[in-house]
């Protein structure tokens, strides 16, 4: 989230699309309700009439997987009716930037497409530069090559008729939503978007969000109170997990994972440190070397020296084109490339797309360690449906671990607040906190390397591991989360002096051995240690900032600067410098996130140094301007509608490119193991299906399916179908039916409801059905199995998140479908 949960209460229009907060993020509704009480409009767009839709002023249905078409129509509406916040768009976005004259778009493809590689040569996706290397601009926005005109041209194709035929949304509803949301283009109005997996889990997931980001920029909603682009996370600490580099392609603080060709630290820093010649561009990532070297010091401590590149060579590297995301891991596992697997706090046998493939892949393992609160379908896969335990060699170890209430530590919520949590009760039996399990495991592994040696022992032997008070012999008495948190914040091993720009007098700001107060003090000479630069400032000499519980709210916007700690540098709303004009006056005087009082900023912690007008507001980008014309996406600079891989219509009405031209298919040579089947426009699978969650269960239900009070509320796998489809298939509500895709089959109880209605898509009647994904065969005995037995192994072209929100199925009475 760029903003925070409680900031939703500041919005004038709230768009719920690709999410169902009433069901899946109930606490968000405290703030949504408050906004409505103050007069805000709630707009909900969803294939189903959800609990959120039940509370909305405007509801519009759309077919799963057509969000870009829907939003493309909104961009057209905004541009052609001139509803943009002009000053914001001209000054703070790259609308005025001139784009390379060779950049082209025709019939669904941008310039540079290589059909063989299913990827783009992006050399024409760039700005025209002047003699000084600064992008050329046309602030009148008239040049046919400026991003604004290109954008207008691109979305001029998304007219109401076409959009309605693609999405199935009635035209009246489209116009209602467009008008309501475009209202927030007025400088003193703010609109927020709440999205979740309904946007990400598509082959065009990243582009769904890009489309909305363009809208938020056109309407001047970024950086504003009640604005922003807000991803509602699916787990309490999923924000923390990405901040700390749990994904394969990033280290902590979003530094890229080194690739094989980045042989030295110099190669790495050269490649990933952007440069700019524009003096007003703050270019945040120019600091990359400082962050990276301080991170290496946290990894290898005293063993990291200038002479050995601070241990850079010990970091694991990815092959240059390697993708090691979830789908790839299980594809490789299915091919027998893994010996062992730690399933730590997860349940891939139910959560992985095409779960039959995942369950099959696990049979190739020699061993598996299942760290969880309860037994689950992953740990017990060898005795699951259709498995013969006598033929499966995998040895499974179950390590019971502590639940969140049974250990101390921090978590980072969707709004980027790092909040310290205390232990409430002790874990049951022999269950242990994850930290203790890891500690014990690491000590054993290191001992084995010490005693028996091994290939490339340096990364293990040199790993800095000082997470607790020590015994006289140097061993750790007991691992302690506070020591970990302190290293993440970082400290200095020499005095840091700062020179006063006026008097030229140097004073020592941070003394040797002290905790660093902010990442501004990080050095690239190896004198500072910092586990994650984003969290520098969270555990300072003043103490554990995450444990703060101050309730002061000086701005009245519910920023609560003294409550916990927010990255970066306790900034509560990011890009907040875009909430004021060049003079530092807030666009919205009623809800000023920031304002310049003539000598200093008042309000939130601003992005970048004073005074107003000194720097461009979007400091994370080298050009300092937010991108209407995007440079980094696999599919192209402007989001374009492509059909989901499995879809009900033969032709994409927007172009002859039916499906995302850059998404990777497991059917290609060298990918897939035969378990990856896709059937699009196949009469055997006529219905569009989407997966979703319900309030009562969490993820694959490993915790909630063992909780009787929750199971009582949602006891069994079900499928929501429209009354029309039920009639067509002779299905009664409450009856057990079969749901089948190209990959698998499950039973479910039919919930026949008017919450779903057939769509009119390109002249045809298309039925949409929807299934929750929480169930599994381990418990309860009559609960059913995972929805992911049906979902396809196809990923978004940028992130490889599976397309589990739009695929094709059949539904019928038991024995009624082939």
């Amino acid at each position: 989230m760029t903003n925070h949960w409680n900031d939703i209460a500041n919005a004038d229009v709230i768009l719920i699309m690709g999410s169902n907060p009433a069901e899946n993020h109930p606490i968000s509704f405290r703030w949504i309700t408050r906004a409505i009480e103050k007069g805000a409009k709630l707009v909900c767009v969803d294939p189903r009439f959800t609990k959120s839709a039940a509370k909305a002023h405007i509801y519009a249905p759309l077919r799963s997987g057509t969000d870009i078409a829907f939003l493309g129509g909104m961009i057209k509406h905004i541009l052609e009716n001139n509803l943009i916040q002009k000053e914001y768009v001209v000054e703070y976005t790259n609308a005025s930037f001139l784009v390379d004259e060779n950049f082209k778009f025709a019939d669904g493809l941008f310039s540079g497409y290589d059909a063989k590689k299913r990827s783009y040569d992006r050399s024409t996706w760039k700005y025209q530069l002047d003699a000084n290397g600064i992008p050329k601009m046309d602030k009148t926005l008239q040049s046919p090559h400026c991003a604004y005109q290109l954008l207008k041209k691109h979305y001029s194709r998304y007219n109401l008729d076409l959009v309605s035929q693609i999405t199935g949304t009635p035209k009246d509803d489209l116009v209602k939503v467009y008008k309501a949301y475009a209202e927030t283009g007025k400088p003193d109005k703010a609109g927020t978007i709440l999205y979740a997996m309904g946007w990400t889990q598509h082959t065009v997931g990243t582009q769904n969000i890009r489309t909305m980001s363009i809208i938020q920029l056109l309407l001047g909603n970024m950086g504003m109170a009640g604005g922003g682009v807000n991803a509602m996370r699916g787990e309490s600490n999923v924000q923390g997990s990405t901040d700390y580099g749990l994904l394969f392609h990033i280290l902590t603080g979003y530094n890229p994972t080194p690739r094989a060709s980045d042989k030295t630290l110099n190669d790495y820093n050269g490649k990933y440190t952007p440069k700019t010649k524009d003096p007003k561009s703050f270019n945040w990532w120019k600091n990359r070397p400082k962050y990276m070297i301080s991170f290496l010091k946290a990894m290898y401590g005293n063993a990291a020296t200038k002479e050995n590149d601070f241990g850079y060579g010990w970091l694991p590297k990815l092959d240059d084109t390697q993708n090691a995301s979830w789908l790839m891991i299980f594809d490789q596992m299915a091919k027998g490339k893994f010996k062992g697997f730690f399933a730590w706090g997860q349940n891939p046998a139910c959560s992985g797309a095409n779960a039959n493939k995942v369950r099959m892949a696990m049979e190739t393992l020699d061993w598996m360690v299942n760290v969880n609160l309860f037994d689950n379908e992953t740990g017990s896969f060898w005795k699951g449906p259709g498995k013969d335990p006598s033929k499966i060699k995998t040895e499974v170890f179950m390590l019971p671990c502590a639940a969140s209430f049974e250990k101390e530590g921090s978590l980072s919520n969707s709004g980027r607040w790092m909040q310290w949590r205390y232990k409430a009760v002790s874990p049951p039996g022999k269950a242990q906190p994850d930290l203790e399990i890891m500690h014990e495991l690491f000590l054993k592994v290191r001992k084995l390397y010490k005693e028996k040696g091994g290939t490339f022992p340096e990364p293990i032997l040199n790993l800095s591991w000082n997470y607790g008070a020590k015994n006289p012999d140097g061993t750790i008495k007991h691992i302690d989360a506070h020591y970990v948190a302190k290293e993440i914040n970082g400290y200095t091993s020499k005095d840091i002096e700062v020179e006063d720009p006026k008097t030229k007098v140097k004073t020592v700001m941070v003394k040797t051995g002290q905790q660093l107060p902010s990442f501004a003090f990080l050095q690239d000479d190896g004198s500072t240690t910092c586990g994650n630069w984003l969290y520098c400032g969270s555990y300072t000499e003043a103490g554990n900032m995450a444990a703060r519980r101050g309730k002061e709210d000086p701005t009245g916007l519910m920023l609560y600067p003294q409550w916990a700690w927010c990255w970066p540098v306790n900034r509560r709303i990011i890009y907040n410098r875009a909430s004021v004009n060049w003079e530092g006056k807030p666009w919205d005087p009623k809800r000023p996130v920031l304002s310049w009082d003539g000598t200093k900023w008042v309000g939130d912690i601003p992005d970048g140094p004073p005074p107003p007008g000194a720097i461009y507001p979007f400091i994370m980008l080298p050009e300092g301007h937010a991108r209407l014309f995007g440079l980094g996406m696999a599919e192209g600079p402007f989001p374009e509608h492509y059909e989901p891989l499995e879809c009900p219509i033969e032709k994409n009405l927007m172009s002859s490119q039916k499906f995302n031209p850059t998404a990777r298919l497991f059917g290609e040579a060298g990918m897939g193991v035969g378990a990856d089947k896709y059937l699009s426009c196949d009469p055997r699978f006529p219905f569009v299906c989407t997966t979703y969650r319900v309030t009562e269960h969490w993820q694959t239900g490993v915790m909630t399916r063992w909780t009787p009070w929750l199971l009582e509320l949602q006891p069994q796998m079900f499928i929501e179908i429209s009354k029309e489809l039920a009639q067509e298939r002779g299905i009664k509500s409450g009856e057990e039916v079969m749901v089948k895709s190209a990959r698998g089959e499950i039973w479910a109880i039919a919930v026949v409801t008017s919450n779903l209605k057939p769509f009119k898509i390109a002249g045809q009647t298309i039925h949409q059905v929807a299934i929750p994904y929480h169930f599994g065969w381990v418990t309860p005995p009559d609960g059913g199995d995972s929805a992911n037995l049906l979902t396809p192994t196809i990923g978004d072209a940028n992130t490889m998140i599976p397309e589990s929100k739009a695929f094709m199925v059949n539904v019928g009475k038991k024995g009624g479908i082939g």
């Binding site: 509704f29 009070w709 929750l710």
Partner: protein
């Protein structure tokens, strides 16, 4: 000081955290359920489920609506359950809500039968705090929402109001809640012309008020609930243990907070007092019958006792046989 609750249907998101927190706080066991083709579960209020959200789908002029309405004790200020309870097990707390003293309850089922909202349910007397569902009752008693009396006494608020994420359940002074509810209704009128505040007048004023977006009947609530007329209580169905309880001396107390006038309405007089005549018959020589009624009374009691003993021993034998049978089967 009176306390009340305001349930705002326009704010309820049917997350049902109130259902879970209710069971968690009162330690009520989960019941095994199945999906019956709806989100709604458990299917009805029982002694194990005191609070439940009812889902109703509506389509009006092509506009779809999905209503979520709380179903739990309304804690009427003039409560039928208190009025019809022959054993004075039901009464009022000074804070305004309806109480049940399960020690006094004789499980006659009149509260279950006559509550205009169909809230009270009978269940065995020891379900609170048990982990699993218990089926066969040794003794039945009446259950409804307790208004989390124990939480209130500790200065807290009822568990459902505490947990509600969208603040659809407000707890506070009844007069404030009425004001607050009226403000909500006035706001809602713009989008929901039928919006209304339910419970201001109903049953002498409900301790749990409702902000409704449609007419009460569409939410499944009676349009104009009345005290109604009730047949007198049949004293013959008093169980033996109840007569014993009489000796404890607790029962004849008039329920605190109840208005004696309700018991005196013409045509719907309370059941001929079951307590005093029996006591009199047992111990006090009447003017007309001399000692005979006392004698007959004791004989009668003895007879009932003997009959009960026979029935009990027969049932016991049957149970033992069944047990044996099961053992043999095993």
């Amino acid at each position: 000081m009176k306390k009340g609750m305001l349930f705002d249907g326009s704010k309820c998101i049917a997350c049902r955290a109130c259902q879970v927190s209710c069971k968690q706080w009162s330690k009520l066991p989960a019941v095994p359920t199945i999906n019956r083709g709806t989100y709604e579960n458990p299917p009805k209020l029982t002694a194990y489920t005191w609070n439940r959200i009812v889902f109703s789908e509506l389509e009006k002029n092509g506009k779809k609506k999905w209503l979520f309405t709380r179903r739990a004790c309304m804690h009427c200020s003039q409560a039928v359950c208190v009025w019809v309870c022959p054993s004075y097990a039901r009464g009022y707390d000074p804070r305004g809500y309806v109480t049940v003293d399960q020690k006094r309850c004789v499980a006659c089922g009149r509260c279950v039968e006559y509550c205009p909202f169909q809230i009270p349910k009978l269940g065995r007397d020891d379900i609170c705090g048990c982990d699993t569902l218990k089926e066969t009752p040794p003794r039945l008693v009446s259950y409804t929402c307790t208004f989390c009396k124990d939480r209130l006494e500790d200065g807290g608020i009822p568990a459902c109001a505490k947990t509600c994420p969208s603040q659809a359940i407000q707890f506070g002074e009844p007069s404030n809640l009425i004001k607050q509810g009226q403000i909500r209704v006035n706001l809602l009128k713009a989008t929901h012309p039928k919006a209304n505040l339910y419970g201001k007048k109903e049953m002498g004023g409900l301790t749990v008020l409702y902000v409704l977006t449609e007419e009460p009947s569409i939410h499944g609530l009676p349009e104009n609930p009345q005290m109604g007329t009730y047949p007198p209580f049949d004293q013959c169905t008093f169980p033996a243990w109840y007569s014993q309880a009489i000796f404890g001396g607790d029962l004849p107390n008039f329920p605190s907070g109840a208005d004696p006038a309700w018991y005196m309405q013409p045509g719907i007089a309370p059941a001929p007092c079951p307590v005093e005549p029996i006591l009199k018959k047992l111990f006090v020589r009447s003017k007309s019958g001399g000692w005979a009624p006392i004698l007959w009374g004791w004989l009668g009691l003895g007879g009932i006792g003997a009959f009960a003993a026979v029935v009990w021993s027969l049932r016991r034998r049957k149970t033992l046989e069944e047990g044996k049978q099961e053992n043999n089967d095993a």
